[in-house]
Amino acid sequence: MAQISLNVNGKSRVLNTDPSTPLLYVLRDDLELNGPRFGCGLSQCGACTVIMDGKAVRSCSIAVSAAQARNITTLEGLGTVAHPHYLQTAFIEEQAAQCGYCMNGMIMTAKVLLDQNANPSEPEIRRALNANLCRCGSHLRVIRAVQRAAREKVSA
């Protein structure tokens, strides 16, 4: 066990945990953040995606010790139902999910894409999201939601 300090969604948190624990379990079980989700534990599906220092990363495969002194943003750090982020609004507008379990990864990956490229083409969106799996088949709606978010961000 070791004392670990994390900076999550703008707040610093100190906790006592096994430093080899993947970040995902600390976010979920210790900080009770449900946005990042367990899908594979193998960096293959993207359900656990968080943003670390501006990059979309797989929290299931990063030891919590390696996440210290980094700025971590989870889905909760974007917005709430009462005050959604424009990306979340775009996903609601496009009804871009079925079960929604993978959508944390889609939204967090899209956030990083739009931060780096305000007006991505459709092939660029597909490329950016390609390593995020969705079994329900909501892909076309997700693409439309990202396009909508890009439009609304520009006009905002």
């Binding site: 979920r28 989870t74 996903f91 379990y101 088949g137 909501s138």
Partner: protein
């Protein structure tokens, strides 16, 4: 879904002539006899809910503020059905949609309406809730009539406020009428589960007056799913909760010959190594400790009592050479044998469908709190009452002592109708006397989820001298769902025996959408009862059995059309015999695709890529679908890219058009993945596709354009939309590949390797006898 059980006599009759070709199935008759003898406790007793279905209060409650709560054991699986059901209820009660709150899947608070499956929820539970709402409105008008002093037929309702027609000032709200009390009135209720009829005698609204049903109301669950505020099964936390992981055996009944607890001594936070019967699991204070311990724990398992088959080909041989225990005859008219034997031209082909997985993005998860002879289970089960019965049986306590609280998991496509993980959690919670959350790991889910069964389908048809198909002879050989109605993993590991070979894999999709003078469609069930079940146990997988059967039917129809040089759409229309719904759907999809009449294949294209179009139609649970797929085949790599799918869908009354389109898009995309990419990899030692790298599924780069035509038939009432639209997808793609290349592929998945092999073989037309 046919849930008829198979009698011991039928079973033994079937086993008498079994051809057991391979040692890996072991003594099948012994297993059948064991199951039939029902040694040990009976498994999963059928149990109806304890709430009285004849009480209006069992179905709905009106709060003082006008909020209406609907109680239902039909659960949201990510298909939007909760929103659609709420629309039907709001419509019937004349309240705005936002007043409806759905209390879903709590076995203490809902009537057992049976499992949410088979695309039957809107069709069956829709009318149940609609009629309960109609009965509620009738009672509310009766109360209002007394309070306002006018007959009920002089009252009107606007968003839950009852007023006198012509005197709008004379009014009272639903909330004030009920005044925080129960209704305490009876409604009629007959039958059980899907077949339950609630207050059918109460008049319901005419569809012409619908204002909420038929509109694209936004899904109630989605906003919180996009912000992390939604509570999935995986997010349930209860005070004092511990974390469990299961240590999986090679086969279900493998015995843990030894468990070396010293192998995990160095891992801090372990609470208990649980070993009961053949079940081995680890309970720990943290999730990570449980994962590490489950991975590190040294367990020596006894030699498996059953081997897996070595490959798909061996399973095909077994399917082909083993006598069925039940021939389900879907159609049998005229004299097929004689007609075929006397025909001038006979076609014959065989189609192969492999074991496939549901592939939930979220592996199974549940929380159980078992203490003092009581159990509370938080689970994503499609059938909360089925899970209640199974857990009660496992724990040896009455079902009334078990409360299942539904919490949605990820999309499951049939997998959670036999939800294993609540049993794992119950066993471990009982062992430690505290709540335990069990999360399957990815490899647990890929290996141990019950699979969609392999199928082997042979079709023959006879054509007369005019080129008319006069006989159709269709035989599907597949396995029953071995997990259906029987003991699941932990139950079996604790010694509860399976009760039989399981439920059938359906009969639809074998060409019954067409009319031929002489026609036979049989779905034969081959026994898949292993003395020691392997991870190739089986269950219902989206449009169960029908996906494969429709692939075979629609490929075979296409093969005949090509050989007879007839346009594939026109050829199908001939045998739809002016049946209005499939004819309309087929024409609508063709029109959407700007279909040009010509026979397949297309003229050979120069260059490295060939394009083609293919059509297929289907009837699943009386929902009619038609698909036109346009593909591009890379002739050098064999890679198939589906560029566009045009789709027509008729499920009667459309409750929520955008929600329905969402389902259709998803079915098409999942259908493409299962057609082109997916197959469970295994050998004698076990399942080899244990993650998304070894079992890839479709990704963004391969998603086609999708254009959907919705056909609304409000006079029919609603039918299902959760799975019918996957059925025509494989046939449409296979036919499009043929159109592009002249290569006919009859074995799923349609991989680049198979396409290349076909191109090299230069198969240019269907085989003919």
């Amino acid at each position: 879904m046919d849930t008829k059980s198979i009698s011991r006599r039928q079973l033994l009759k079937g086993t008498g002539a079994l051809v057991v070709s391979f040692s890996f199935w072991g003594p099948v008759s012994q297993a059948l006899a064991q199951g039939a003898a029902q040694s040990g406790r009976p498994t999963a007793p059928a149990h109806n809910g304890d709430l009285d279905a004849t009480q209006l209060d069992s179905w709905l409650a009106v709060a003082q503020d006008g909020k209406v709560t609907i109680f239902t054991s039909k659960v949201e699986l990510g298909t939007g059905v909760e929103t659609a059901l709420a629309q039907m209820v709001a419509e019937e009660l004349d309240v705005s949609f936002k007043r409806i709150y759905m209390d879903v899947g709590d076995t203490d608070r809902t009537v057992d309406q049976a499992v949410t499956a088979g695309s039957r929820t809107l069709e069956r539970a829709g009318p149940q809730l609609r009629q309960a709402a109609a009965a509620g409105r009738q009672q509310l008008l009766k109360l209002a009539s007394a309070r306002l002093g006018v007959p009920a037929d002089r009252l009107t309702v606007n968003d839950g406020v009852v007023s006198v027609i012509g005197s709008p000032a004379k009014k009272i709200s639903y909330g004030d009428l009920v005044n925080g009390k129960r209704f305490d009135v009876q409604v009629s209720a007959t039958g059980t589960g899907w077949d339950m009829k609630i207050a059918p005698e109460v008049p319901a609204k005419n569809y012409k007056d619908y204002k909420i049903v038929g509109t694209s109301v936004a899904r109630v669950d989605l906003p919180a799913k996009f912000t992390g505020e939604f509570t999935y099964t995986q997010d349930v936390r209860v005070p004092g909760m511990l974390h469990g992981r299961v240590v999986r055996p090679p086969t279900v009944n493998s015995k843990p010959a030894s468990v070396d607890e010293s192998s995990v001594r160095d891992i801090p936070g372990i609470v208990k190594i649980v070993q009961e019967g053949n079940f081995v699991g680890v309970v720990a204070e943290t999730e990570w400790a449980a994962i590490r311990a489950a991975r590190s724990l040294k367990v020596t398992w006894s030699a498996p009592g059953t081997k897996l088959p070595a490959n798909t080909g061996q399973v095909d041989d077994y399917l082909k050479n083993t006598k069925s225990f039940r021939d389900q005859v879907a159609v049998n008219k005229g004299n097929v044998e004689t007609t075929i034997s006397q025909a001038s031209k006979v076609y014959q082909a065989t189609y192969h469908w492999p074991f496939q997985i549901h592939g939930m993005i979220a592996p199974s998860c549940a929380v159980a709190d078992v203490r003092d002879g009581q159990a509370t289970i938080w689970a994503g089960s499609q059938g909360p009452f089925a899970t209640r019965g199974r857990v009660a049986n496992l724990l040896g306590i009455p079902p009334q002592n078990v409360r299942v609280l539904y919490r949605e998991s990820s999309g499951c496509y049939g997998r959670l109708s036999t939800d294993d993980v609540p049993e794992d959690a119950a066993v471990m919670s009982r062992a430690v006397g505290k709540p335990v959350r069990v999360q399957w790991m990815r490899e647990d889910e890929h290996a141990w989820e019950p699979k969609g069964p392999q199928q082997l389908i042979s079709v023959r048809a006879a054509v007369d001298t005019q080129g008319k198909v006069v006989a159709w002879d269709y035989l599907d050989r597949s396995f029953p769902w071995t997990t259906s109605g029987t003991a699941l993993l932990a139950s079996q590991q604790l010694g509860i025996k399976p009760t039989g070979p399981g439920a059938p894999n359906g009969t639809g999709g074998g060409g019954d959408i067409y009319t031929f003078d002489h026609q036979k469609v049989v779905a034969a069930l081959i026994p898949w009862v292993q003395p020691d079940p392997t991870p190739l146990r089986t269950s219902n997988l989206r449009a169960p059995g029908e996906l494969a059967r429709t692939f075979a039917t629609e490929s075979f129809i296409d093969e005949m059309a090509a050989d007879l040089a007839v346009d594939p759409v026109q050829f199908r229309l001939r045998y739809l015999n002016k049946d209005v719904r499939p004819t309309d759907a087929l024409r609508a999809a063709a029109k959407q695709a700007q279909w040009k009449e010509r026979p397949s294949p297309a003229p050979p294209a120069p260059g490295p890529k060939a394009t083609g179009r293919g059509v297929a139609i289907a009837n699943r649970a009386n929902t009619i679908t038609a698909a036109v797929a346009e593909v591009e085949v890379d002739k050098t790599t064999g890679k198939v890219l589906v560029k566009r799918v045009s789709f027509a869908h008729d499920c009667g009354l459309i409750v929520n058009p955008d929600g329905l389109k969402n389902q259709i898009e998803g079915n098409i995309i999942q259908g493409i993945s299962r057609t082109l990419m997916e197959q469970v990899q295994f050998d004698e030692s076990g399942i080899k596709s244990l993650d998304w790298a070894s079992h890839p599924i479709i990704t963004y780069q391969d998603i086609p354009q999708i254009d959907i035509v919705l056909i609304n038939r409000p006079e029919m009432g609603p039918l299902g939309g959760g799975e019918p639209s996957i059925s025509p997808v494989p046939g449409a793609i296979a036919n499009a590949i043929f159109d592009a290349t002249g290569v006919r592929l009859r074995e799923i998945p349609l991989t680049p390797k198979r396409v290349l092999a076909g191109l090299q073989a230069g198969t240019l037309s269907s085989k003919r006898l």
